[in-house]
C-alpha cells in the first residue's frame, strides 16, 4: 500500500533521513520508534508530502507522492495526519473543525457533513462537546476531536506524529483507546510514538530509527525480545530499561 524507496532528506547540511526504504501493507499498524531527532517525524511527514524528500520516491497505492506533478491535496485528503499539538483550528467550534475539510475539499453538502461530524464525535466520545471551542477542551479531548477531524475525510491511511506526547497518563489512555478502536476497524496506521506498551500490544510491525537511518524493522515480539541490531539493543536497554 505504501512503498518508500531509498528516500533522503536533508536541511542545508544536516542529513535527517538517509536511504530509508520501507513498505506498509493495507491494514497494518506500524509503530515508528527511536530517540528524539532520529528523523521519525520527518519520515512520517514525507509520506503525505508535508515535507519534501531530497531524493528517492514514495508511492501510495499506485500514486507517486514524490512526483513533481502529483496532486498533493488529493493525496492528503486520503491520508490523515495527527500531530503532537493537536492543531485544531481555534477559531472554529469542534463541529466546524470536523466539517471544514469534507465541505471545502470533498464538497460534501453541509447537512451530510454535519451528520457525519456528529457520528464521528459519538465514536470518539466527544458528542457532548460539539459546540465547544478547542481552547475549552483538555488535551485528550482535543486530540480525540483531531482524530475525528481526520476520519471525516475517510482516509485510507492515518499517520500519527507522537499523538500522546503532550498528554498526561489519563488523557494518553483516552487517546490510545480511540486509536486501538481504529486499529480494530482495520485502518492502516503509522504511529510515531514513545508509548512502548501501545507499540507492543497494538502494532504488528515496529520500525526503529536512529540518526536518520531505519535501523531495524520487525514484528513487536521479535523486536523487543530478540533485536538484531546493537543500536536497537542499546536503545532498549538505556531508554526503556529493558533486559535485552
Amino acid at each position: 500500500m505504501i512503498k518508500v524507496k531509498n528516500i533522503y532528506k536533508s536541511y542545508k547540511n544536516i542529513d535527517v533521513l538517509i536511504d530509508v526504504s520501507a513498505q506498509v501493507e493495507k491494514g497494518q499498524i506500524v509503530a515508528v520508534i527511536g530517540p528524539s531527532g532520529c528523523g521519525k517525524s520527518t519520515f512520517l511527514k514525507c509520506i503525505n508530502g508535508l515535507e519534501k524528500v531530497s531524493k528517492g520516491r514514495i508511492f501510495i497505492d499506485d500514486e507517486e507522492v514524490t512526483a513533481p506533478d502529483t496532486n498533493l491535496n488529493k493525496i492528503r485528503s486520503e491520508v490523515g495526519i495527527l500531530f503532537q499539538q493537536f492543531n485544531l483550528f481555534p477559531h472554529m467550534s469542534v463541529k466546524e473543525n470536523i466539517m471544514l475539510a469534507p465541505v471545502k475539499v470533498k464538497k460534501i453538502p453541509k447537512d451530510d457533513a454535519e451528520q457525519m461530524a456528529r457520528a464521528l464525535l459519538e465514536k470518539v466520545g466527544m458528542l457532548d462537546h460539539a459546540h465547544k471551542y478547542p481552547e475549552q477542551l483538555s488535551g485528550g479531548q482535543a486530540q480525540r476531536v483531531a482524530i475525528a477531524r481526520s476520519l471525516a475525510m475517510e482516509p485510507k491511511i492515518m499517520l500519527f506524529d507522537e499523538p500522546t506526547s503532550a498528554l498526561d497518563p489519563k488523557m494518553t489512555n483516552e487517546v490510545l483507546d480511540t486509536m486501538k478502536q481504529l486499529a480494530q476497524d482495520g485502518m492502516t496506521m503509522i504511529v510515531v510514538t514513545h508509548e512502548i506498551s501501545f507499540a507492543r500490544e497494538v502494532a504488528n510491525k515496529i520500525m526503529f530509527f536512529s540518526q536518520g537511518r531505519l535501523v531495524e524493522e520487525s514484528v513487536p515480539d521479535k523486536f523487543f525480545n530478540n533485536p538484531q541490531s546493537e543500536i536497537t539493543r542499546e536503545f532498549l536497554r538505556s531508554v526503556l530499561k529493558l533486559e535485552v
Binding site: 492528503r76 486520503e78 490523515g80 500531530f83 481555534p90 477559531h91 471544514l100 475525510m153
Partner: protein, 224 residues
C-alpha cells in the same frame, strides 16, 4: 478678554457638514481600498517569486518612508506629465489608500507570522489548498490578532485625510482652515475641527472594540 464666537461656528455649520461628508467619503473608500491593497501585498509576498517580492518590497519601502504629502503631490502634479489627469479627490483617495495599505500590509504580515506553522500544516494535511488554508485558517486567526493595530491604521487614515486639502479638496480640514484664515476665527474653527475629527476617529475606535469582542475566540487565554 477673548470671546469664543459660538455664533460663527453655528453659522458656518452647513459648510462644515459638507466638509465632514467629504472627509467621511474619502476615508471610507480609502479604508476599503487600503485593506484590499494590504491583502494583495501580503498575498503576493507569500508567492516567493523573487522578482515579485523584490518589487513589492521596494514599493513598500518607498511608500512607507516618504511623507504622504509628497506622494499626494506626485499623483496630483506628477501624473498629468505622463498624460494622466485625475481629479483631486481621486488623487487623494489613491495616495491615502496606497500609503495606508502599505502600513496595514506590514501589520498583516506580522499577524500571519504569529500563526503557528502547525496550523498551516494541519490545514494542508487535511487536503486544503494553499489559498483555502489562507482564507479559512490562517487569515481569520491573524485578523483577530491584528484588529487593534488595524483600528489604529484606520484612525491614522482619517487624520491623514486632512492633507488632501493641500490639493484643493474641500474636505473638513479645508473648510475649517478657510473659515479660520478668511474670518480670523482660528481658535473657534480649529477647536471645532479637532472635536469633529475626534468624534470620527472615536467611532472607529468604538467599532474596533466591538468587533474585537465579537470575534473573540471562546476559551482563548490572553484575549481581552
Amino acid at each position: 478678554m477673548y470671546e469664543f464666537d459660538i455664533k460663527y461656528i453655528i453659522e458656518s455649520f452647513p459648510y462644515i457638514v459638507k466638509g465632514i461628508g467629504l472627509t467621511i467619503f474619502i476615508s471610507v473608500i480609502s479604508s476599503i481600498l487600503a485593506f484590499t491593497i494590504a491583502l494583495t501585498i501580503a498575498f503576493l509576498r507569500r508567492t516567493n517569486v523573487k522578482p515579485v517580492t523584490l518589487l513589492i518590497g521596494l514599493f513598500v519601502e518607498l511608500t512607507r518612508n516618504t511623507p504622504l504629502l509628497i506622494q499626494l503631490y506626485i499623483y496630483y502634479k506628477g501624473l498629468p506629465n505622463i498624460g494622466l489627469n485625475l481629479s483631486p479627490i481621486a488623487c487623494g483617495i489613491i495616495s491615502l489608500s496606497l500609503y495606508t495599505g502599505v502600513f496595514i500590509s506590514e501589520v498583516l504580515r506580522a499577524g500571519l507570522n504569529s500563526i503557528a506553522h502547525e496550523q498551516y500544516q494541519a490545514a494542508r494535511g487535511l487536503g486544503l489548498s494553499d489559498i483555502q488554508t489562507f482564507r479559512l485558517v490562517t487569515f481569520p486567526q491573524a485578523l483577530r490578532i491584528i484588529i487593534p493595530p488595524l483600528g489604529s491604521q484606520f484612525i491614522n487614515l482619517i487624520k491623514n485625510s486632512s492633507l488632501v486639502s493641500f490639493i484643493a479638496v474641500t474636505d473638513l480640514f479645508y473648510v475649517i482652515y478657510k473659515g479660520a484664515v478668511d474670518d480670523f476665527m482660528f481658535f473657534e474653527m480649529f477647536i471645532t475641527g479637532a472635536i469633529i475629527y475626534m468624534a470620527l476617529t472615536g467611532i472607529v475606535a468604538f467599532f474596533t472594540n466591538l468587533i474585537e469582542q465579537k470575534l473573540k475566540i471562546p476559551g482563548k487565554a490572553g484575549s481581552i
